[in-house]
Structures are given as structure tokens and as C-alpha cells.
Symmetry: C2
Subunit: 455 residues, 2 copies
């Protein structure tokens, strides 16, 4: 299913063929993560901050975890679905105890992990922890190689609900044995734990056949960083391998493009909306890494957008993808419920990759996106919250999309409406209608075109 499709009909065919393969995928048999996991993780914002003397509010500690658990509940995040709080690397002592057990850092987790887990559960949240398959974790703490059964047992005894298993300090052969093996050790404990594998981030694409069998979610690519460059880099990676990734995703087994960095330092409001929207198209885990004590209200509004969370958590669990790139505009679609007689509802995101000027106007009809249900669609703008009304497949629509921003529409199928025959053309219309970009000496080639595109 090429990215270079010319006819709307091709979009529909592409989608249909792809998802016929889904029933053949065997998922990790723990019944968990039937929708993508949601929660909060320490890494992107807090990294391996262990100096609690100089940085008491930002070090990896039970204080940070408890405070964040409180805010996940009081800030409405738990209610919105962010139900799991996870410690990443740097929580343990540098050595196991004499019996070989992992022990938490005594000064930063003086009450112990079991106590922290109890606290988290008392808030109605689930508790997640980090391990690494190699001899060491990425930051040099004890690794799980040679301790798989003991670590799985320890986590179960601590009432852990979610385990992220990283892959530093291991060979490909180690990982090919270790990720499936640890999956079985987790299951053998009898405690249900969501299993997040960093396996494919360290591996070739050949592992994708095995991932759904052993993992509830998996990190496909490099760590996210606090920048729009990083978000675009991850989106580009997912677009490049869309066929593999959409084929592997489904209820119980998800691709993970990494944490939501909304509320940190590097993304503008428009860029933050873009991450939230595209992640929901990708049926991605929505796992924040930010400072809930200190965040602008617009960031909380984006993270708590119920309509977009509903797209992410759609019960059909069909991952969406890029369906067209035209000039500086990407169009993403995801099949969602309700569906009827082979016709689906859709989430649609227009991403504007421009780096200047005002908004770009996109003119289109639903049928040009491949949305051809006879009864048409009830359409809602998921960021403004505005109900746009009923549109038949050939009705004209528009979207004004900000540079490095998105517009996201939900198209719910509306049965019983008889469509009219109309002729229309998708137009990407730049406000700037001049003949070209300013040709200044030493100027780098602009990353997008100013030309009006028809297709």
C-alpha cells in the first residue's frame, strides 16, 4: 500500500487488505492492555536524577512518585484514563542483596517499593516498574539477566502491575531468548502484569512476528526527546514502517512511539496538540513524562481531551496511519467505532509541516479521504469541541491548519442518509499565493513548497 496513491479508492483498498491479516496475530495471553496503556513515567522529564540533596523535587524517589500519584488523581488524569504510574531506571541500589534480590535505593525509597505500591493502589492507580534484560540497566544499575525468575517473583510480591523491560548491555541473541523468557516468568507468577518490551528498539524488524505473542506493548524506536524535531522524527519513522507496525498492533499488543512530552519545555501548544493527535491515530500508549506540579493549563487541557483519548482507546483497536502526503500537509486516518456492515467511522488528522506563515486551508470531501459511507458522517472538531454537523461523502469541507500544528476531525458514520452526486477537488491552499519563496543567498532550501497543490 504505497504512500503515493492518487485515487481515493486506493485508500480504502489499502485499509481493508491490511486489516484482514489481524485475526492471525496471537496476542500475549494475559488479557491485559485491551486498549493502549495510559499513565505516567519518570524517564523523559526526570532521567536518572539521583541527587536529592540539590534537587529534592526532581530526583527519582518515593516523594516524587507519591506526589505525582496524588496529582494524577486530584488533577483528573486517573478519571481520564491515565491509570498507571511507572518508575523508569535508577530506582534500585547499585547491588542486589545477599539473596540476589533487587532492593530499592535506601535513601530515596526509604519505605520500600511494596509500601509505595500500596500507596499508589490506595489512590486507585496501578503501579509500574523498570528492569533491564542485560547485565546492567542502561544507567548502570543491576540487570535482570540471570535473575529473571527472581525479579519476576519480586515484582509480583511488590504488587507490580506493569513492567518495562529495557535492553541495554545485551546481545541480539540474549534478547531473542530473554524477552520471551521473561514474559513466561511474569505469567508464571500468577500476578497479571502488563509487559512493555524495548526489544524492537534494539532489533531488526524481524522480531515483529514474535512481539504480539510475548509483549503487551513495545518501544519501536529511539527515546523521545523534548523537541518538535524528535516528535517529527518518530512520526516519520512510524510512517516509514507503517505496514509492519499497523499489522502488529491490536487489542493486547501495541506499538509504543514513546512518552507524551506535553507540558515540558520544548513543544509549543500547536506542536503539543500534534503529538496528542498523531499518538491517538497510532493507537499509542498515552504515557506522560512531565511535571504535574508545574504545567500550563493549556497542556493539561490537551492531555485531558476526552474526545482524543476516546480515539486512542477505541475498542476496535485498529491502528491508523498516514494515508497521504501532499506538499507540506500529512493526512492520517484511523478506523474507529461505531461501524456497521463493513463501514467504519474514522478519526482524521491533518498535520501541517510548514515552518512559517499563517494557517494553511485544506479543502476536501470525505470521499476524497476514502470515506464513502452512503449515509455520510456526523463530524466533530476534536480540539475546538465544535460539532460540525452532517456531511455526505461528496460534501465540501475545509480545515485551517497552523504551521507545526494539526486539525483533528472525528467522522461517525450516519446510517440512512442518501448522498448526492457532486464533483469536488481536494485543494491545499496556502495563504501566500506569490510565485515562490524568497531567494536569499545562503538561504537553505525551504522544507516545504508554497505552490498550490491539486489532486
Amino acid at each position: 500500500c504505497s504512500m503515493e496513491m492518487e485515487l481515493p479508492a486506493a485508500v480504502v483498498i489499502c485499509f481493508s487488505v491490511l486489516h484482514l491479516t489481524l485475526p492471525g496475530v496471537r496476542a500475549l495471553d494475559n488479557g491485559l492492555a485491551l486498549t493502549p496503556p495510559m499513565g505516567w513515567l519518570t524517564w523523559e522529564r526526570y532521567r536518572c536524577t539521583t541527587n536529592c540533596r540539590d534537587f529534592p523535587d526532581d530526583c527519582i524517589s518515593e516523594k516524587l512518585m507519591k506526589t505525582t500519584a496524588d496529582l494524577l488523581k486530584s488533577g483528573g488524569y486517573l478519571e481520564a484514563g491515565y491509570d498507571t504510574i511507572i518508575i523508569d531506571d535508577c530506582w534500585s541500589e547499585k547491588k542486589r542483596d545477599p539473596s540476589g534480590r533487587l532492593v530499592p535505593d535506601k535513601s530515596r525509597f526509604p519505605s520500600g517499593i511494596k509500601s509505595l505500591s500500596n500507596y499508589v493502589h490506595g489512590k486507585g492507580l496501578k503501579f509500574g516498574i523498570y528492569a533491564n534484560f542485560g547485565n546492567y540497566t542502561c544507567a548502570g544499575y543491576p540487570g535482570t539477566m540471570n535473575y529473571q525468575k527472581l525479579d519476576a517473583t519480586t515484582f509480583a510480591e511488590w504488587d507490580v502491575d506493569y513492567v518495562k523491560l529495557d535492553g541495554c548491555y545485551s546481545t541480539e541473541a540474549d534478547r531473542d531468548e530473554g524477552y520471551p523468557s521473561f514474559s513466561k516468568h511474569l505469567n508464571n507468577t500468577g500476578r497479571l502484569m502488563v509487559y512493555s518490551c524495548s526489544w524492537p528498539a534494539y532489533a531488526s524488524h524481524s522480531v515483529y512476528d514474535k512481539l504480539p505473542t510475548y509483549c503487551n506493548l513495545w518501544r519501536n524506536y529511539a527515546d523521545i526527546e523534548d523537541s518538535w524535531n524528535s516528535v517529527l522524527d518518530i512520526i516519520d519513522h512510524f510512517n516509514k514502517y507503517s505496514r509492519i507496525y499497523t499489522g502488529a498492533a491490536g487489542p493486547g499488543h501495541w506499538n509504543d512511539p514513546d512518552m507524551l512530552i506535553i507540558g515540558n519545555f520544548g513543544l509549543s501548544e500547536e506542536q503539543s496538540k500534534a503529538q496528542m493527535a498523531i499518538w491517538s491515530i497510532f493507537a499509542a500508549p498515552l504515557i506522560m513524562s512531565n511535571d504535574l506540579r508545574n504545567m500550563p493549563s493549556w497542556a493539561a487541557d490537551i492531555l485531558l481531551n476526552k474526545d482524543i483519548i476516546a480515539v486512542d482507546q477505541d475498542p476496535l483497536g485498529i491502528m491508523g496511519e498516514l494515508v497521504k502526503q501532499t506538499g507540506h500537509i500529512d493526512i492520517y486516518l484511523r478506523k474507529i467505532s461505531p461501524h456497521s456492515q463493513g463501514q467504519y467511522s474514522y478519526a482524521c488528522v491533518f498535520l501541517n509541516r510548514a515552518v512559517g506563515g499563517a494557517k494553511t486551508r485544506i479543502k476536501f470531501t470525505p470521499s476524497q479521504l476514502g470515506l464513502t459511507a452512503d449515509g455520510g458522517y456526523i463530524v466533530k472538531d476534536l480540539f475546538t469541541g465544535e460539532s460540525l454537523g452532517h456531511y455526505s461523502p461528496t460534501d465540501s469541507m475545509k480545515a485551517d491548519v497552523a504551521p507545526s500544528g494539526v486539525v483533528m476531525y472525528r467522522f461517525n458514520i450516519a446510517i440512512g442518509y442518501h448522498s448526492q452526486n457532486e464533483i469536488s477537488v481536494i485543494t491545499v491552499q496556502n495563504f501566500d499565493e506569490s510565485s515562490g519563496y524568497k531567494a536569499i543567498t545562503n538561504k537553505k532550501k525551504p522544507s516545504w513548497s508554497w505552490k498550490t497543490v491539486l489532486y
Copy 2:
């Protein structure tokens, strides 16, 4: 004066030698722009939007200019110093009139430019316009080549206060003749007009000897775009050519790193603070291009920060520069008033180029920045507005700087204080004290180091 200095003393020497050359620069003899121009310009946000039917609020028109003039006054921008409103390209008809005069687009400027200029002056603002030295403007409108005297006369008759002369569709020889020549034509009109030259953006660095003689300000480099990448690219360019640019700048003649894009789509709040801070270090024109009708309040707060504007507009007019890069931290200094007996006050900006994690703590003493006045300094944080008190050159200080953000301190010399002898070391302390960055397969090399740096 190398960027690779190791001793604080070298910083001071570098500054002193450089600015001894300033008295030799002859400035454009019109008495204007004794501090860097401030105002608003159409280009970055509105480009060449001429379709007023579909985009009535965003097309280049007298409506946009009048509305913005109103908001410059009512929003406190004029009072803060943003006193000039400038139209960029795409304001004229595609052909001159039978007498060879430029005429404004009849549908978008139905009242004419003189009427618009009167309106702007009625608000207490100055009025600026755009021309291009070649046969055409960059967007294909009539150019000023062969019409220099007539266009200068026309602008004077329209009571124009500021002319930006672009350089598309011209050869190097054309520009070497044309920019000085148009300067004389402007002066010959008898009306005082600030003269902004795009000359060096199209030329080699050899023109810098001539710029102060003919131009009040000049665009050194490519157009800014609405992204943090673009802001960093411009900062890097200015750092690379710091010796040339600081030598050319002074009252009446300024380097122009291009428009402030604060309030648009591509910069986060931290990144917006960074642009404002570094532009003020560079003694840059503060010329916004944004939508004053629709801007978050934090963006207005940054643009209206009186303390930072005061640094930009410092009457000494000494351009500042990068004095040290250490790990992911840049340190910028600018000599400002008050000064006494060869000792200056300083503006200091710490720029954090990190793309992840929490804030970075910088520990330093004023003397390590080259600030060695015996009496010490009265220090203020220009973004929080907090007065930090008195510091002698050897007192310990710190700054916590967000990723892709800045901290900006003003050090005013305090006479009569006797400093103590203390020993201290500048430390750049990352919150993350782990041994290294996570080594994930396929991971790009991180753009900054996690190591603790001492110097």
C-alpha cells in the same frame, strides 16, 4: 578573540580590544536609530497573502495594517518602544503607473498609502514600507532598479519613516552600487527615513566595512522561520561571525537577525524567552511579526518585558556576544550602562541547548564571567523580575536553566563595595548523574553531553 577561551581574564581582554575599534566606524549620517529599531513587520506571519476574499483577516491590506496599528497602541506595545509598523512585500500593484510611480494594490489599499501613513501617524506610530533593489521584488512586484530617485521621492511624499530595501533579482555589482546609491536618494529627499538594507544577506562579508556608512540596520542572514531550529540557526550564524558583527554594530547602525516570531505557532514559552533574551544581547532590532489579535498572554508578557527591552535599547549601543560554550550551555554577555571608570554593567544570558530532562543548574561567580568590578554588582533576574541582591566578583551564584530555554541576569556595577577573596569553580551540573545516555540501537547521537563539566 577565540570562542575557546579558558581563563576568565581572556573574556575581558576580548571585549576591550574589540570595542576600541568602534570610534572608527562612520555611521549613516541621518541621526536615526541611535538605539535598535522596534516595531512590527508583516512578512514572517503574513507572507504574500493577497487573497482577501478567502483570508480577509490575514491578507496584506490596509485593514490588517490599521487593525495592527490600533493594537500596537492599545496593547501597550507603542509605550514599550515598538513604535514602527512596516509593510513587507506584496503591497503594490503589479505595474507602475504611466508616470513610473509605484501604486498600492487598489483593492487591498483602497485609501492609498498616504492615507494609511496618516492613520498610523495619528496613533503616534511611525510608518515603514518595503522595496526591492532588483527589477522585481522577491514576490514579483515592481522593483526599484532604475527608479531609485522616484521611489525615494514617492516614499517621502507618503511620509514614510522607514524603508526596508530587499535584494532579489539583482547581481552583486548591482547591489554594491544600489544600496549606497539609494541611501543617498533617501537622504536627498530631506525626509528622515530609517534605512534597512538586506544587502549582506545576499553578499559576502566584505560589505561589512561599508554597511555603517550607508545603512541604519541590515539583515545579515536568511529569513527567520517559525521554528526553534531557525532561531538556533540564526544564533549559530551570529556566533560564528561574532567578530565581524560586533565590530560593525553601534548607535545608528545595527545587525538584524530578523523578526521576533514570539506569539506564533512554532516556539514554546521557554524558546520564546530565549529569542527575546539573545536578540537583546545582540542589540538587535525588535521587530515582531505576529498576530496581535490572537496571542497567548505569556507571549505578550515576554514581548513587553521592560527590563529586557532596556538591555536591547541600552544607550551605549555595544553589541554583546557569546563568550563561552560549555557542554550544552552557552553564555552570552553584553556591556551595558551604567559604567564608571572603565568598568561596565552587564547583561548575561545562559542558554540551555539540551533537548530533554529537567533544568540544568549552573554554578558560577561573577569573576568567572569576567565581571571583576571591585564594588561588585546589583543583580536582577530579568524574567522572574526578582532582585537577587548584591554580589561581589567572587560570590557564588547559580542559575537553573530549562532545556531550550534561558536565564537572563542583569549585573549593575555597585561602587564602593570591597570584595573578598574566595575560591570557586563554575560547575554545569546536570540533574542526571548517571554514567551516560541510554545506548539504544538506531539511536542518533545525542546533541549534548550528560557529563558534568568543570572549568
